[in-house]
Protein backbone atom coordinates (compact mmCIF):
# COMPACT_ATOMS: atom_id res chain seq x y z
CA UNK A 1 0.00 0.00 0.00
CA UNK A 2 1.38 3.40 -0.94
CA UNK A 3 2.23 5.99 1.69
CA UNK A 4 -0.66 8.27 0.63
CA UNK A 5 -3.14 5.40 0.96
CA UNK A 6 -1.79 4.47 4.38
CA UNK A 7 -2.14 8.07 5.45
CA UNK A 8 -5.77 8.13 4.29
CA UNK A 9 -6.57 4.90 6.15
CA UNK A 10 -4.94 6.23 9.32
CA UNK A 11 -6.91 9.46 8.96
CA UNK A 12 -10.15 7.51 8.60
CA UNK A 13 -9.37 5.38 11.64
CA UNK A 14 -8.56 8.51 13.61
CA UNK A 15 -11.78 10.26 12.59
CA UNK A 16 -13.83 7.14 13.40
CA UNK A 17 -12.12 6.68 16.77
CA UNK A 18 -12.69 10.30 17.70
CA UNK A 19 -16.30 9.97 16.61
CA UNK A 20 -16.78 6.90 18.77
CA UNK A 21 -15.46 8.65 21.86
CA UNK A 22 -17.15 11.98 21.20
CA UNK A 23 -20.61 11.03 22.48
CA UNK A 24 -19.32 10.86 26.01
CA UNK A 25 -17.73 14.27 25.73
CA UNK A 26 -19.96 16.29 23.47
CA UNK A 27 -23.50 17.41 24.06
CA UNK A 28 -24.64 16.17 20.66
CA UNK A 29 -23.67 12.61 19.79
CA UNK A 30 -22.05 11.68 16.52
CA UNK A 31 -24.24 9.37 14.52
CA UNK A 32 -22.36 6.74 12.59
CA UNK A 33 -24.01 5.19 9.57
CA UNK A 34 -22.66 2.95 6.91
CA UNK A 35 -23.61 1.37 3.63
CA UNK A 36 -22.10 -1.18 1.36
CA UNK A 37 -22.48 -3.58 -1.48
CA UNK A 38 -20.80 -6.91 -1.99
CA UNK A 39 -21.49 -8.36 -5.39
CA UNK A 40 -20.03 -10.85 -7.78
CA UNK A 41 -20.81 -10.82 -11.43
CA UNK A 42 -19.71 -11.95 -14.80
CA UNK A 43 -20.11 -10.67 -18.30
CA UNK A 44 -20.35 -13.18 -21.12
CA UNK A 45 -19.44 -11.44 -24.37
CA UNK A 46 -20.08 -13.10 -27.69
CA UNK A 47 -16.91 -11.45 -29.05
CA UNK A 48 -14.86 -8.73 -27.28
CA UNK A 49 -15.78 -7.40 -23.86
CA UNK A 50 -17.59 -4.02 -24.29
CA UNK A 51 -15.32 -2.52 -21.62
CA UNK A 52 -18.03 -0.42 -19.99
CA UNK A 53 -16.81 1.45 -16.91
CA UNK A 54 -16.55 -0.85 -13.87
CA UNK A 55 -18.64 -3.52 -15.53
CA UNK A 56 -16.93 -6.89 -15.41
CA UNK A 57 -14.15 -6.05 -17.84
CA UNK A 58 -11.97 -9.02 -16.90
CA UNK A 59 -12.45 -12.70 -17.58
CA UNK A 60 -13.96 -14.79 -14.82
CA UNK A 61 -16.14 -13.83 -11.88
CA UNK A 62 -15.53 -10.36 -10.56
CA UNK A 63 -16.04 -9.39 -6.93
CA UNK A 64 -14.51 -5.97 -7.31
CA UNK A 65 -16.59 -3.99 -9.80
CA UNK A 66 -19.62 -3.29 -7.60
CA UNK A 67 -18.19 -4.00 -4.15
CA UNK A 68 -17.76 -0.96 -1.93
CA UNK A 69 -18.14 0.26 1.64
CA UNK A 70 -19.15 3.68 2.88
CA UNK A 71 -19.00 5.22 6.32
CA UNK A 72 -20.77 8.40 7.32
CA UNK A 73 -20.39 10.52 10.44
CA UNK A 74 -22.91 13.21 11.30
CA UNK A 75 -23.15 15.52 14.26
CA UNK A 76 -24.86 18.76 15.21
CA UNK A 77 -23.33 21.64 17.11
CA UNK A 78 -26.71 23.34 17.41
CA UNK A 79 -30.24 22.90 16.13
CA UNK A 80 -29.25 24.78 12.96
CA UNK A 81 -25.73 23.58 12.31
CA UNK A 82 -24.62 20.07 11.45
CA UNK A 83 -21.54 18.40 9.98
CA UNK A 84 -21.38 15.42 7.65
CA UNK A 85 -18.35 13.41 6.58
CA UNK A 86 -18.71 10.43 4.26
CA UNK A 87 -15.88 8.14 3.23
CA UNK A 88 -16.14 5.67 0.37
CA UNK A 89 -13.83 2.75 -0.34
CA UNK A 90 -14.22 0.71 -3.51
CA UNK A 91 -12.83 -2.77 -3.96
CA UNK A 92 -11.59 -1.71 -7.41
CA UNK A 93 -9.36 0.86 -5.71
CA UNK A 94 -8.14 -1.51 -3.01
CA UNK A 95 -10.56 0.20 -0.56
CA UNK A 96 -8.42 3.33 -0.67
CA UNK A 97 -10.98 5.66 0.95
CA UNK A 98 -12.11 8.83 -0.80
CA UNK A 99 -13.97 11.68 0.85
CA UNK A 100 -17.29 11.45 -0.99
CA UNK A 101 -19.08 14.05 1.12
CA UNK A 102 -17.77 16.59 3.63
CA UNK A 103 -20.01 19.53 4.35
CA UNK A 104 -21.40 21.86 6.93
CA UNK A 105 -25.16 22.25 6.80
CA UNK A 106 -26.87 25.37 8.03
CA UNK A 107 -30.61 25.04 8.48
CA UNK A 108 -32.20 28.36 7.45
CA UNK A 109 -35.71 27.06 8.15
CA UNK A 110 -37.18 23.56 8.52
CA UNK A 111 -37.44 23.27 4.73
CA UNK A 112 -34.45 25.32 3.61
CA UNK A 113 -30.76 24.74 4.10
CA UNK A 114 -27.32 25.77 2.96
CA UNK A 115 -24.42 23.34 2.56
CA UNK A 116 -20.76 24.26 2.28
CA UNK A 117 -18.01 21.80 1.39
CA UNK A 118 -17.68 18.70 -0.74
CA UNK A 119 -21.01 17.90 -2.34
CA UNK A 120 -22.45 15.35 -4.74
CA UNK A 121 -22.87 16.92 -8.19
CA UNK A 122 -26.40 16.34 -9.51
CA UNK A 123 -25.27 15.14 -12.93
CA UNK A 124 -28.34 12.88 -12.97
CA UNK A 125 -31.42 12.41 -10.83
CA UNK A 126 -29.93 9.81 -8.48
CA UNK A 127 -26.27 10.79 -8.62
CA UNK A 128 -26.20 11.63 -4.93
CA UNK A 129 -27.10 8.09 -3.84
CA UNK A 130 -25.63 6.08 -6.69
CA UNK A 131 -23.29 4.17 -4.38
CA UNK A 132 -25.97 3.36 -1.78
CA UNK A 133 -27.24 0.19 -3.40
CA UNK A 134 -29.75 -0.47 -0.61
CA UNK A 135 -31.57 2.76 -1.48
CA UNK A 136 -32.82 1.51 -4.85
CA UNK A 137 -34.26 -1.70 -6.27
CA UNK A 138 -31.76 -2.29 -9.08
CA UNK A 139 -28.65 -4.43 -8.71
CA UNK A 140 -26.90 -1.32 -9.95
CA UNK A 141 -28.44 1.89 -11.21
CA UNK A 142 -28.75 1.85 -15.02
CA UNK A 143 -25.19 1.91 -16.28
CA UNK A 144 -26.03 4.05 -19.31
CA UNK A 145 -26.37 7.07 -17.01
CA UNK A 146 -24.80 6.06 -13.72
CA UNK A 147 -21.49 4.80 -15.00
CA UNK A 148 -19.44 6.60 -12.37
CA UNK A 149 -17.94 9.86 -13.51
CA UNK A 150 -14.67 11.14 -12.14
CA UNK A 151 -16.23 14.53 -11.32
CA UNK A 152 -19.31 13.31 -9.45
CA UNK A 153 -18.30 15.24 -6.31
CA UNK A 154 -17.08 18.84 -6.23
CA UNK A 155 -16.40 21.56 -3.70
CA UNK A 156 -18.71 24.50 -3.24
CA UNK A 157 -21.97 25.73 -1.82
CA UNK A 158 -25.56 24.52 -2.19
CA UNK A 159 -28.96 25.96 -1.42
CA UNK A 160 -31.60 23.30 -0.96
CA UNK A 161 -35.27 23.74 -0.28
CA UNK A 162 -38.70 22.24 -0.55
CA UNK A 163 -42.15 23.79 -0.71
CA UNK A 164 -45.65 22.45 -0.40
CA UNK A 165 -48.34 23.91 -2.68
CA UNK A 166 -51.60 22.24 -1.68
CA UNK A 167 -51.13 18.63 -2.81
CA UNK A 168 -47.93 19.34 -4.72
CA UNK A 169 -44.44 19.31 -3.27
CA UNK A 170 -41.48 20.92 -4.98
CA UNK A 171 -37.87 20.21 -4.07
CA UNK A 172 -35.03 22.29 -5.47
CA UNK A 173 -31.26 22.17 -5.23
CA UNK A 174 -29.00 24.95 -6.47
CA UNK A 175 -25.24 24.49 -6.37
CA UNK A 176 -22.15 26.43 -7.31
CA UNK A 177 -19.09 24.19 -7.25
CA UNK A 178 -15.58 23.78 -8.64
CA UNK A 179 -13.87 20.54 -9.61
CA UNK A 180 -10.19 19.91 -9.95
CA UNK A 181 -9.01 16.36 -10.54
CA UNK A 182 -8.24 13.63 -13.01
CA UNK A 183 -10.56 12.11 -15.57
CA UNK A 184 -10.15 8.85 -17.49
CA UNK A 185 -8.45 7.40 -14.40
CA UNK A 186 -9.63 3.93 -15.28
CA UNK A 187 -7.84 4.09 -18.61
CA UNK A 188 -4.55 3.86 -16.69
CA UNK A 189 -1.63 6.18 -15.94
CA UNK A 190 -3.59 7.99 -13.22
CA UNK A 191 -5.83 9.89 -15.61
CA UNK A 192 -5.72 13.35 -17.17
CA UNK A 193 -6.08 16.46 -15.00
CA UNK A 194 -8.94 18.85 -15.76
CA UNK A 195 -10.72 21.65 -13.94
CA UNK A 196 -14.39 22.50 -14.12
CA UNK A 197 -14.95 26.10 -13.11
CA UNK A 198 -18.20 27.67 -12.02
CA UNK A 199 -20.23 24.51 -12.13
CA UNK A 200 -23.78 25.81 -11.91
CA UNK A 201 -26.06 22.98 -10.90
CA UNK A 202 -29.82 22.86 -10.63
CA UNK A 203 -32.13 19.99 -9.71
CA UNK A 204 -35.92 20.12 -9.43
CA UNK A 205 -38.42 17.50 -8.27
CA UNK A 206 -42.16 18.05 -8.42
CA UNK A 207 -44.35 15.45 -6.69
CA UNK A 208 -48.10 14.99 -6.74
CA UNK A 209 -49.41 12.00 -4.82
CA UNK A 210 -47.56 9.01 -6.33
CA UNK A 211 -46.22 10.85 -9.39
CA UNK A 212 -42.85 12.57 -9.40
CA UNK A 213 -41.34 14.60 -12.22
CA UNK A 214 -37.69 15.61 -12.09
CA UNK A 215 -35.22 17.59 -14.16
CA UNK A 216 -31.88 19.22 -13.74
CA UNK A 217 -28.62 20.20 -15.24
CA UNK A 218 -25.03 21.21 -14.79
CA UNK A 219 -23.06 23.78 -16.77
CA UNK A 220 -19.36 24.41 -16.31
CA UNK A 221 -16.34 26.07 -17.92
CA UNK A 222 -13.87 23.34 -18.83
CA UNK A 223 -10.16 23.92 -18.29
CA UNK A 224 -8.66 20.93 -20.08
CA UNK A 225 -5.21 21.87 -21.33
CA UNK A 226 -3.86 18.42 -20.54
CA UNK A 227 -6.76 16.80 -22.38
CA UNK A 228 -5.91 18.95 -25.41
CA UNK A 229 -2.23 18.04 -25.10
CA UNK A 230 -2.86 14.30 -24.86
CA UNK A 231 -5.71 13.91 -27.34
CA UNK A 232 -5.38 16.77 -29.85
CA UNK A 233 -1.64 17.49 -30.00
CA UNK A 234 -0.90 14.07 -31.58
CA UNK A 235 -2.94 15.23 -34.59
CA UNK A 236 -0.42 17.95 -35.45
CA UNK A 237 1.82 15.78 -37.71
CA UNK A 238 -1.26 14.75 -39.72
CA UNK A 239 -2.34 18.37 -40.05
CA UNK A 240 1.10 19.48 -41.18
CA UNK A 241 1.16 16.70 -43.75
CA UNK A 242 -2.18 17.85 -45.14
CA UNK A 243 -2.68 20.40 -47.90
CA UNK A 244 -4.87 22.59 -45.67
CA UNK A 245 -3.70 26.14 -45.09
CA UNK A 246 -2.15 27.12 -41.76
CA UNK A 247 -5.21 29.25 -40.98
CA UNK A 248 -7.49 26.28 -41.65
CA UNK A 249 -5.34 24.06 -39.42
CA UNK A 250 -5.52 26.61 -36.61
CA UNK A 251 -9.26 26.94 -37.02
CA UNK A 252 -9.55 23.15 -36.92
CA UNK A 253 -7.59 22.87 -33.68
CA UNK A 254 -9.61 25.70 -32.16
CA UNK A 255 -12.83 23.98 -33.16
CA UNK A 256 -11.80 20.71 -31.49
CA UNK A 257 -10.37 22.37 -28.37
CA UNK A 258 -11.86 21.02 -25.13
CA UNK A 259 -11.67 24.33 -23.26
CA UNK A 260 -15.36 25.03 -23.81
CA UNK A 261 -18.63 24.76 -21.90
CA UNK A 262 -19.61 21.39 -20.50
CA UNK A 263 -23.34 20.84 -20.09
CA UNK A 264 -25.35 18.00 -18.54
CA UNK A 265 -29.14 17.86 -18.54
CA UNK A 266 -31.56 15.21 -17.37
CA UNK A 267 -35.29 14.78 -16.96
CA UNK A 268 -37.68 12.00 -16.13
CA UNK A 269 -40.46 10.66 -13.95
CA UNK A 270 -41.38 8.13 -11.29
CA UNK A 271 -44.88 6.85 -10.83
CA UNK A 272 -46.15 4.39 -8.29
CA UNK A 273 -49.55 2.71 -8.55
CA UNK A 274 -50.30 0.16 -5.85
CA UNK A 275 -47.52 -2.42 -6.19
CA UNK A 276 -46.38 -1.15 -9.60
CA UNK A 277 -43.67 1.40 -10.15
CA UNK A 278 -42.53 3.06 -13.35
CA UNK A 279 -39.32 5.04 -13.66
CA UNK A 280 -37.75 6.73 -16.67
CA UNK A 281 -34.85 9.12 -17.13
CA UNK A 282 -33.17 10.66 -20.13
CA UNK A 283 -29.96 12.63 -20.28
CA UNK A 284 -27.93 14.60 -22.78
CA UNK A 285 -24.41 15.79 -22.09
CA UNK A 286 -21.03 16.72 -23.48
CA UNK A 287 -18.52 19.53 -24.02
CA UNK A 288 -20.14 21.71 -26.63
CA UNK A 289 -18.32 22.79 -29.82
CA UNK A 290 -15.36 20.50 -29.17
CA UNK A 291 -14.02 17.07 -30.15
CA UNK A 292 -16.46 15.63 -27.60
CA UNK A 293 -19.76 14.33 -28.97
CA UNK A 294 -23.13 15.03 -27.44
CA UNK A 295 -24.00 11.85 -25.54
CA UNK A 296 -27.53 10.72 -24.92
CA UNK A 297 -28.53 8.12 -22.36
CA UNK A 298 -31.89 6.87 -21.16
CA UNK A 299 -33.67 4.10 -19.34
CA UNK A 300 -37.20 2.90 -18.75
CA UNK A 301 -37.93 0.63 -15.78
CA UNK A 302 -41.04 -1.18 -14.59
CA UNK A 303 -41.18 -2.84 -11.16
CA UNK A 304 -43.67 -4.97 -9.29
CA UNK A 305 -43.59 -5.57 -5.57
CA UNK A 306 -44.51 -8.92 -4.00
CA UNK A 307 -44.14 -7.96 -0.33
CA UNK A 308 -40.40 -8.56 0.29
CA UNK A 309 -39.55 -9.27 -3.34
CA UNK A 310 -39.33 -6.59 -5.99
CA UNK A 311 -38.89 -7.53 -9.63
CA UNK A 312 -37.66 -4.83 -12.00
CA UNK A 313 -37.26 -4.99 -15.74
CA UNK A 314 -35.47 -2.13 -17.37
CA UNK A 315 -34.10 -1.18 -20.73
CA UNK A 316 -31.19 1.25 -20.93
CA UNK A 317 -29.45 2.82 -23.88
CA UNK A 318 -26.39 4.97 -24.34
CA UNK A 319 -25.63 6.66 -27.64
CA UNK A 320 -22.42 8.31 -28.76
CA UNK A 321 -22.57 9.12 -32.44
CA UNK A 322 -19.02 10.03 -33.49
CA UNK A 323 -20.40 12.16 -36.31
CA UNK A 324 -22.74 14.11 -34.01
CA UNK A 325 -20.07 16.74 -33.39
CA UNK A 326 -20.71 20.42 -33.69
CA UNK A 327 -17.22 21.28 -35.00
CA UNK A 328 -18.12 19.66 -38.34
CA UNK A 329 -20.12 22.77 -39.15
CA UNK A 330 -17.00 24.93 -38.73
CA UNK A 331 -14.48 22.77 -40.65
CA UNK A 332 -14.87 22.52 -44.42
CA UNK A 333 -11.52 21.14 -45.64
CA UNK A 334 -12.18 17.42 -46.48
CA UNK A 335 -8.76 16.25 -45.22
CA UNK A 336 -9.25 17.98 -41.86
CA UNK A 337 -12.79 16.70 -41.54
CA UNK A 338 -11.52 13.15 -42.06
CA UNK A 339 -8.76 13.60 -39.45
CA UNK A 340 -11.36 14.91 -37.01
CA UNK A 341 -13.84 12.14 -37.74
CA UNK A 342 -11.14 9.51 -37.24
CA UNK A 343 -10.33 11.02 -33.86
CA UNK A 344 -14.00 11.17 -32.95
CA UNK A 345 -14.49 7.52 -33.88
CA UNK A 346 -11.61 6.49 -31.64
CA UNK A 347 -12.86 8.60 -28.69
CA UNK A 348 -16.60 8.28 -28.94
CA UNK A 349 -17.57 4.72 -29.55
CA UNK A 350 -19.73 3.68 -26.61
CA UNK A 351 -23.19 3.01 -27.97
CA UNK A 352 -25.17 0.12 -26.61
CA UNK A 353 -28.53 -0.98 -25.34
CA UNK A 354 -29.15 -3.45 -22.56
CA UNK A 355 -32.15 -5.17 -20.96
CA UNK A 356 -31.80 -6.03 -17.29
CA UNK A 357 -34.05 -8.16 -15.08
CA UNK A 358 -33.33 -7.42 -11.41
CA UNK A 359 -34.59 -9.11 -8.27
CA UNK A 360 -34.48 -7.57 -4.81
CA UNK A 361 -35.29 -9.55 -1.68
CA UNK A 362 -35.44 -7.68 1.62
CA UNK A 363 -33.90 -10.21 3.95
CA UNK A 364 -34.21 -8.11 7.09
CA UNK A 365 -34.23 -4.41 7.93
CA UNK A 366 -31.19 -2.85 6.31
CA UNK A 367 -30.18 -5.86 4.23
CA UNK A 368 -31.31 -6.63 0.69
CA UNK A 369 -30.21 -9.52 -1.49
CA UNK A 370 -30.08 -8.74 -5.17
CA UNK A 371 -29.60 -10.62 -8.40
CA UNK A 372 -29.82 -9.69 -12.03
CA UNK A 373 -29.39 -11.04 -15.50
CA UNK A 374 -28.68 -8.77 -18.43
CA UNK A 375 -28.52 -8.97 -22.16
CA UNK A 376 -27.16 -6.25 -24.41
CA UNK A 377 -25.85 -5.26 -27.79
CA UNK A 378 -22.95 -2.92 -28.48
CA UNK A 379 -22.69 -1.06 -31.78
CA UNK A 380 -19.02 -1.97 -32.30
CA UNK A 381 -18.77 -4.91 -34.67
CA UNK A 382 -15.99 -6.47 -32.63
CA UNK A 383 -18.22 -6.48 -29.52
CA UNK A 384 -21.76 -7.19 -30.64
CA UNK A 385 -24.02 -9.05 -28.23
CA UNK A 386 -23.19 -9.65 -24.59
CA UNK A 387 -24.98 -11.04 -21.57
CA UNK A 388 -24.20 -11.69 -17.93
CA UNK A 389 -25.41 -11.87 -14.36
CA UNK A 390 -24.63 -10.70 -10.85
CA UNK A 391 -25.51 -11.72 -7.29
CA UNK A 392 -24.97 -9.62 -4.24
CA UNK A 393 -26.04 -8.01 -1.03
CA UNK A 394 -26.64 -4.33 -0.27
CA UNK A 395 -26.83 -3.10 3.30
CA UNK A 396 -27.07 -0.02 5.46
CA UNK A 397 -26.62 0.45 9.16
Amino acid sequence: MKFKSRLKVLLCLLVTSVACFLPAQAQQPVSINGFGSVRLGKLLPSKDNPQLVEFYNDDGLSFADDTLFGLQLQTESSADLSYTLQLLGKALEDYDPDVSLAFVRYQLAPDHQLKFGRLAVPLFAQSDIQYVGYSHDYSRLPKALYYRFDFEVADGVAFEGQQIFQDFSLKYVLQLTEFSGNVFKRQGSGGIPIKLHQMNNLRLELAYQQLQLFAGGVRADTDADQLNAQLLAPLLPQLQASTASLAAQQQFMAALNFNKDAAYTFWGLRWQYQAWRLEAERSRYGISDSADVINTAEYLALSYRFDRVIVTLHQEKQTENPENVQWLTQVTAPELRQIGINLSRSLNNTSYRMQVLSLRYDLQPGIALKADIFNGKHQLANVGRFKGFSLGVDFVF
Binding site: D128, D137, I164
Partner: protein
Protein backbone atom coordinates in the same frame (compact mmCIF):
# COMPACT_ATOMS: atom_id res chain seq x y z
CA UNK B 1 -49.13 -12.46 -2.44
CA UNK B 2 -50.88 -9.18 -1.93
CA UNK B 3 -49.16 -5.87 -1.50
CA UNK B 4 -51.79 -4.71 0.98
CA UNK B 5 -53.07 -7.03 3.74
CA UNK B 6 -56.72 -7.95 3.90
CA UNK B 7 -57.30 -6.44 7.34
CA UNK B 8 -55.98 -2.94 7.73
CA UNK B 9 -55.38 -1.60 11.24
CA UNK B 10 -56.44 1.74 12.66
CA UNK B 11 -54.02 4.36 13.90
CA UNK B 12 -54.35 7.55 15.82
CA UNK B 13 -51.89 10.34 15.00
CA UNK B 14 -50.82 12.53 17.90
CA UNK B 15 -48.79 15.68 18.51
CA UNK B 16 -47.84 17.78 21.51
CA UNK B 17 -50.73 19.50 23.28
CA UNK B 18 -49.43 22.95 22.29
CA UNK B 19 -49.33 22.07 18.59
CA UNK B 20 -52.49 23.60 17.08
CA UNK B 21 -51.73 22.72 13.45
CA UNK B 22 -54.30 20.98 11.33
CA UNK B 23 -53.13 18.22 9.04
CA UNK B 24 -54.40 16.58 5.88
CA UNK B 25 -53.60 13.06 4.71
CA UNK B 26 -51.40 14.54 1.98
CA UNK B 27 -49.43 16.61 4.48
CA UNK B 28 -49.09 13.61 6.79
CA UNK B 29 -47.68 11.65 3.88
CA UNK B 30 -45.35 14.50 2.93
CA UNK B 31 -44.11 14.70 6.52
CA UNK B 32 -43.40 10.98 6.76
CA UNK B 33 -41.57 11.10 3.42
CA UNK B 34 -39.77 14.28 4.56
CA UNK B 35 -40.98 16.12 1.50
CA UNK B 36 -41.59 18.77 4.08
CA UNK B 37 -40.02 18.96 7.50
CA UNK B 38 -42.57 21.37 8.95
CA UNK B 39 -46.18 21.46 10.10
CA UNK B 40 -48.63 23.79 8.35
CA UNK B 41 -47.65 26.60 10.74
CA UNK B 42 -44.02 26.35 9.60
CA UNK B 43 -42.67 24.79 12.79
CA UNK B 44 -40.29 21.86 12.47
CA UNK B 45 -41.63 18.33 12.90
CA UNK B 46 -39.88 15.37 14.53
CA UNK B 47 -41.17 11.99 13.38
CA UNK B 48 -41.49 9.06 15.74
CA UNK B 49 -42.17 5.47 14.73
CA UNK B 50 -43.32 2.33 16.47
CA UNK B 51 -40.62 -0.38 16.50
CA UNK B 52 -39.24 -1.17 13.07
CA UNK B 53 -40.16 -4.84 13.15
CA UNK B 54 -43.61 -4.29 14.67
CA UNK B 55 -46.70 -5.18 12.67
CA UNK B 56 -48.03 -1.69 13.42
CA UNK B 57 -45.07 0.08 11.78
CA UNK B 58 -45.31 -2.15 8.74
CA UNK B 59 -49.02 -1.54 8.52
CA UNK B 60 -48.70 2.23 8.91
CA UNK B 61 -46.11 2.41 6.09
CA UNK B 62 -48.44 0.49 3.80
CA UNK B 63 -51.60 2.38 4.69
CA UNK B 64 -50.17 5.88 4.55
CA UNK B 65 -47.30 5.63 2.11
CA UNK B 66 -48.08 2.55 0.02
CA UNK B 67 -44.59 1.30 0.91
CA UNK B 68 -43.49 -1.78 2.78
CA UNK B 69 -41.44 -1.08 5.90
CA UNK B 70 -38.37 -2.29 3.98
CA UNK B 71 -39.10 0.09 1.13
CA UNK B 72 -39.61 2.91 3.59
CA UNK B 73 -36.21 2.23 5.13
CA UNK B 74 -34.71 2.03 1.66
CA UNK B 75 -36.31 5.39 0.83
CA UNK B 76 -35.12 6.92 4.11
CA UNK B 77 -31.55 5.75 3.50
CA UNK B 78 -31.48 8.16 0.54
CA UNK B 79 -32.13 11.01 2.93
CA UNK B 80 -29.57 9.82 5.49
CA UNK B 81 -26.74 9.27 3.01
CA UNK B 82 -27.23 12.62 1.35
CA UNK B 83 -26.87 14.21 4.78
CA UNK B 84 -30.49 15.41 4.72
CA UNK B 85 -31.95 13.40 7.59
CA UNK B 86 -31.04 11.60 10.76
CA UNK B 87 -31.85 7.97 11.38
CA UNK B 88 -35.49 7.01 11.80
CA UNK B 89 -36.51 7.14 15.46
CA UNK B 90 -38.26 4.03 16.74
CA UNK B 91 -39.81 3.56 20.18
CA UNK B 92 -42.55 1.60 21.87
CA UNK B 93 -45.98 3.12 22.45
CA UNK B 94 -45.32 4.19 26.04
CA UNK B 95 -42.04 5.86 25.17
CA UNK B 96 -43.65 7.57 22.18
CA UNK B 97 -46.41 8.97 24.37
CA UNK B 98 -43.84 10.37 26.80
CA UNK B 99 -41.77 11.89 23.99
CA UNK B 100 -44.82 13.53 22.40
CA UNK B 101 -45.90 14.91 25.77
CA UNK B 102 -42.46 16.52 26.19
CA UNK B 103 -41.49 17.54 22.65
CA UNK B 104 -43.58 20.28 20.94
CA UNK B 105 -42.14 19.22 17.55
CA UNK B 106 -43.04 15.53 17.83
CA UNK B 107 -45.59 13.73 15.71
CA UNK B 108 -46.32 10.02 16.04
CA UNK B 109 -48.82 7.32 15.20
CA UNK B 110 -50.14 4.81 17.71
CA UNK B 111 -52.66 1.97 17.59
CA UNK B 112 -56.11 3.53 17.64
CA UNK B 113 -57.02 1.84 20.91
CA UNK B 114 -54.08 3.38 22.82
CA UNK B 115 -55.17 5.22 25.96
CA UNK B 116 -54.04 8.80 25.34
CA UNK B 117 -53.24 11.46 27.90
CA UNK B 118 -51.39 14.75 27.69
CA UNK B 119 -51.19 14.75 23.88
CA UNK B 120 -53.34 16.17 21.11
CA UNK B 121 -55.08 13.75 18.80
CA UNK B 122 -54.84 14.96 15.19
CA UNK B 123 -56.93 12.26 13.61
CA UNK B 124 -57.26 8.63 12.61
CA UNK B 125 -55.89 6.63 9.74
CA UNK B 126 -58.47 3.94 9.00
CA UNK B 127 -58.10 1.55 6.09
CA UNK B 128 -55.71 4.00 4.51
CA UNK B 129 -58.16 6.90 4.84
CA UNK B 130 -57.47 9.92 7.01
CA UNK B 131 -60.16 11.26 9.35
CA UNK B 132 -59.20 14.49 11.00
CA UNK B 133 -60.24 15.01 14.62
CA UNK B 134 -62.20 18.17 15.37
CA UNK B 135 -59.94 20.97 16.66
CA UNK B 136 -60.43 21.55 20.38
CA UNK B 137 -59.23 24.68 22.20
Amino acid sequence: MLARPLHAADFVVVVHNDNRSAITQQLLMQLYLKKTAAFADGKAATLLHLPRSSAEHQQFCLELLNLTAHQYQSYWSRLVFTGNASNLQFANANSILQQVQQNPAAIAYLPADTALSGVRQLGFLRNGQWQESPVTH
